[in-house]
Point group: C2
Chain length 416, copies 2
């Protein structure tokens, strides 16, 4: 045990340079990245990642759905590996940090271990999950879902993009359909570093989000039906204005979320029919997105929402059709891993905030089969899935350092 | 004066048959009409109309923008003619009655005069105005606008459809660019029979709308700007939700209209950006349509609307851009003509209701240059601009009879 245990320090400049270097694979004119999963650009960044990992002496394996694992042996190589990683695919007009920071931050942590010759008890792996975004092949988090047993490989292979190309064919085409069965060996732990994709850390001046879990999410679709009629010739009392009913539901969804902190509720998509300046809207379709860390509170929000529909619509002589189209249960991350993240942030001197992820991540699926948690760093204005996505040099460095610290702490405390 | 003055009766079956006969020119599978202005179908119905009028001994003249006038001389042919009519063009998925009833009802009234040999003091004309609908060539009421001096002929000629074809070229092509200057001779009066295009008459069980004028109309465009953000990762208190602001304005527009009866106010068109289920809307564009018979009340409604924008949007940290894009002043119809319509309806024994037209009509422009009024009959459910548009046999007959009665009353009282 000759290695120093607590002062391994990542190289922030090298991390930043690699973020900028890989941003060239699918770079957009506005400074973002368009690197849809299983495209030629995705192959280029995968090849780059494999070469970097192998140069560090890691063994890279690829599973049957393209998930990549770059492994450095531990002192006891029979222990389940401690994994860290995220995804290298992006949205069509994505930024430089979403997913990328989690993989390259992990690679930088790995490089630090290698350069210092630090020996972990357990093997350590850097993971690149396939198709986290789901932009090209829905649903999102497809291959971590296969890893976790949520989807079968055949389900994944059969997903089609808008041109009718299949996930399985494209995986073969770029040479990343591996031999290894997905989820065949258990991870001992997974730490996922990610940008927050929300404004909380920035708003409160905190550097590290200690993520407790992922909110439960429920999606609904509502169609409100009234009667389309002439705006000039239809007196107010004879209208059946579907948009007025929908507007009142936008207000109610907002109110229901406010009544259940820290829950959120959003009408994000609205289609008005016929959507003409001089026609009273006869039909409005809208979506509702409710999220909360507690399932029983989500149950209450759902009840209140469903009660609000007739309350608001019946007095306006409107009818409605409502259905829940998605239900993603809340995820609680592993307390031991959370403790290691908190320790790692304190060790590095960063102010933290406990938080719950509002968005879905690979870690949410992996949490079903392995102890898992996440580390968040701020992003400017909370803006993500956007070419303007921005996390600073120092924030990237902080995230990678806390990731390394947390992995080492976990290795010392739980893999010893 | 050998003719009976008060008991000329139109032939309801003949009127109905001609409505159904001409509905074949541009008939749609769903029982409506697609007869866009200056198309081959428009030429066919124009040719039919000309032939019918000439068979009755009328002289048909066509002005430089295609308006057709079928004239029967009066006893004193130097008097300005008493005109009745509307338009034969339709919406892309129009019904069988909008405009058509006004022309064919007038033709039936003319035929009744001819068959009974009734001699009017003034000449009587049946008018077919070109391009009332504005669906193919915007704006609507184009050729009655030229007649009234609102637009120049050259402005009309230069209007283009979506394929880049010009109004002037298409008018030439179908052979309906006449020699006569638009508006060259003054009409003594214009009576326009039309379906209500609203639900009031049906709702109150009245047969004849005695139209007092046309509401003033003002159109606005509003863009509300907030900040698009992730629905899951953005807490309620850090949102700048443009849709919430727009929803509150939908409510305010509704309330402002309710506070100023018989005014109406409508948000008819809404575009949410980016319009995605899991993105808090960053921008919403919507239109507002306010109408009222009194200009000073419209001024008040506009003031309240403009005050409501910052009241609703500022607390939500939203910005907005608002502009008035159209202002069509209220029109008051001629009291003498209105009296003749009321007399004509009483004479025929139909229950009436005074009303103000909520929609624009050729008569609204013509009112600038000649005494004008309108006669409304019910349409089922207030539905118009729709293939399901429906007015009954008896209602069509009632409208044409009241039109004839009103023209004769006007001829007796004011053209003597």
């Amino acid at each position: 045990m000759a290695q120093p245990r607590t002062n391994l320090t990542i190289n922030p400049q090298r991390l930043w340079d690699q973020i900028m270097e890989t941003a060239a694979f699918g770079a957009t004119a506005k400074g973002g990245i368009k690197r849809l999963t299983l495209t030629d650009d995705d192959k280029r960044v995968r090849d780059w990642f494999r070469a970097q990992a192998e140069a560090l002496g890691c063994t890279v394996t690829v599973d049957e759905v393209g998930n990549m694992f770059a492994r450095r042996p531990g002192r006891d190589d029979g222990l389940p590996p401690i994994a860290m990683g995220s995804h290298l695919d992006t949205q069509p007009t994505g930024g430089k940090f979403d997913g990328v920071l989690g993989v390259l931050g992990a690679l930088e942590a790995m490089r630090t271990l290698v350069e210092t010759g630090y020996e972990t008890n357990a093997p350590v792996e850097v993971v690149n999950w396939t198709n986290e975004e789901g932009s090209r092949f829905a649903p999102a988090m497809l291959a971590s879902g296969v890893h976790a047993g949520v989807f079968t490989p055949d389900y994944a292979y059969a997903r089609e993009d808008r041109e009718g190309k299949k996930f399985g064919e494209e995986l073969e085409r770029i040479g990343y359909r591996g031999a290894e069965k997905a989820g065949a060996y258990k991870l001992g732990a997974l730490f996922e570093l990610h940008i927050e994709q929300g404004p909380i850390l920035e708003d409160e001046g905190k550097t590290i989000g200690v993520v407790q879990g992922v909110q439960g999410m429920r999606w609904y679709e509502v169609t409100v039906t009234g009667q389309e009629s002439h705006t000039g010739a239809t007196p107010m009392h004879l209208r059946r204005n579907a948009l007025l009913g929908a507007a009142r539901m936008v207000e109610r969804v907002h109110g229901i979320a406010l009544a259940h902190p820290p829950g959120v509720g959003t009408v994000g998509l609205v289609e008005v029919r016929p959507n003409s300046r001089n026609v009273v809207p006869g039909e409005v379709f809208f979506t509702v997105d409710f999220r909360h860390p507690e399932e029983d509170v989500l149950d209450a929000m759902e009840r209140e929402f469903r009660a609000a529909l007739p309350e608001e619509l019946a007095p306006l002589k409107l009818e409605c059709d409502e259905k829940r189209i998605w239900n993603s249960p809340a995820v609680k991350f592993d307390p031991d891993l959370i403790a290691c993240v908190r320790h790692g942030a304190e060790q590095a001197g960063y102010p933290t905030r406990d938080m719950v992820s509002g968005a879905g991540h690979d870690a949410a699926y992996v949490a079903r089969v392995a102890p898992t948690t996440m580390i968040f760093v701020p992003c400017l204005g909370g803006i993500s899935h956007n070419e303007e996505e921005s996390t600073t040099f120092d924030e990237c460095a902080a995230g990678a350092q806390v990731l390394l610290n947390a992995v080492l702490e976990y290795d010392r405390r739980f893999a010893g």
